[in-house]
Symmetry: C2
Subunit: 270 residues, 2 copies
């Protein structure tokens, strides 16, 4: 087993959403290099079928594996819901999704055992969160709801003001009224709408996003297998996209919370 | 030259939006058979680059050409804006987009010569409507605006009520206040939001959608080249999609205004 490993962590998402996970990874593991792939030519995944999302996810993984990574993080809830079992079976590097860490964090946080989950139509339809929560905490009561308009709102930067507040009210009124005390933001775009969502569901509902929990899981996985980069190593971060990079670089900065110098366009055919 | 031609008209769009154009075609040319391809595995096009939209459009066209069509209708404003010149150059069948017919209709309808255009970011950025309007009516004054949230709203069926009204107000307040007397709905999804849009821009602004104008252009092109099917011919309509068909069949009925029996999933790799 290697004692220190300079190879990068590979991270993919349908677009910019996964940068919220990358941000948490960078904060927790500042010595680790990363390759991030955003499949911006096919975004969004959340309104597509499990079959198509799985096909895209496998191709994304193949691209990153080809660049010699030591860990693959599927920083996309829809991709994790659809493709994680197959990715874990087929790849030789460890694979981490965002759903299990998020479900773990939520089940620890909840007092009442009544947990809400919001996500894309594909994620909610898959039942992946519902299953992960049941496993993490048998007997838990789960209320799940798809919120398809949250992704375009976040992508457009409409994260405050009347429109997002009204949309959030339409989707989330129920969560404010029943016994849910913890709400999982089951889509990497949703943390951008955190303030609006918190306003609607009220103080008594704790919001959990998978980014920090996933970064923590990545850290302990790497540590456990002796795959961490040595402390003080200089991390390099590279970004790849399947559509032209301009919009990714611009919008991505909002998600990553830091400037993105450049992204390379790659031609993945699938 | 053939005097009657039973071959189908090929129509493609990124998803369900182009069904509003297909509907107009069916009404005007009830004897014509049609093949409709919705690229539901890559929808939407309107937030992607011209480069990627052109690549997808060429592949869609190739699929339909392989099924022996007599006319290709690009029933997608974004696809028309990005790829029409190249499609017209490369294909042996006549090709018709939705932008020129729409621009023609708008320039005829406008009294003031001050015309508004709304569409996806890609369509507006391309300047295709602006150019087509200038050509149709030199000296015309054009006000163009991208309305990216209209597509997800229409796809989700949120076409009435507070949310779409508020979104429309954010995008269109300017159109209600200045001399625009005609507004082109430059995206095949937007006719579903017609009522809300009309409410916001007011009575004095006439809404023009490309569907009827495109169907009229198709009819005169086919007649002019002797390619019409004989009157009384029995039309057949087939639907193809690149993602699983269930959602297309369900949502598509809203756009087409009639039941869709089935759609065949085809595996286009690009």
């Amino acid at each position: 087993m290697r004692q220190s490993d300079h190879r990068a962590i590979g991270v993919f998402d349908s677009g910019v959403g996964g940068l919220t996970v990358l941000k948490a990874l960078m904060e927790r593991l500042p010595q680790e290099s990363t390759f991030y792939l955003g499949d911006t030519a096919r975004v969004p995944y959340g309104t597509k079928s499990a079959e198509v999302v799985t096909r895209y996810s496998l191709k994304n993984a193949e691209f990153l594996i080809g660049r010699e990574i030591k860990l693959l993080v599927v920083a996309c809830n829809t991709g994790s819901a659809a493709a994680l079992p197959q990715l874990s079976r087929e790849l030789k590097v460890p694979v981490l999704g965002v759903i299990e860490p998020g479900a773990q964090a939520a089940s620890t946080s909840s007092q009442s055992g009544h947990i809400g989950v919001i996500g894309t139509p594909a994620t909610i339809r898959s039942g992946a969160y519902q299953r992960a929560l049941m496993e993490a905490r048998p007997g838990v009561k789960v209320k799940a709801k798809a919120c398809p308009l949250f992704v375009p709102l976040a992508e457009e930067g409409w994260v405050g003001g009347d429109v997002p507040r009204l949309v959030a009210r339409e989707y989330l009124a129920d969560f404010a009224r029943n016994g849910v005390d913890t709400l999982v933001l089951g889509c990497t775009h949703y943390p951008l709408l955190k303030d609006v969502i918190a306003d609607v569901v009220g103080d008594r509902v704790k919001l959990v996003d998978s980014a920090d929990a996933t970064a923590a899981a990545a850290a302990s996985l790497l540590a456990g297998r002796g795959l961490l980069a040595p402390e003080g190593a200089t991390a390099q971060h590279r970004y790849f996209v399947t559509d032209v990079p301009e919009r990714f670089v611009e919008v991505g900065a909002r998600f990553l919370g830091r400037h993105i110098d450049s992204a390379e366009q790659v031609d993945l055919t699938f």
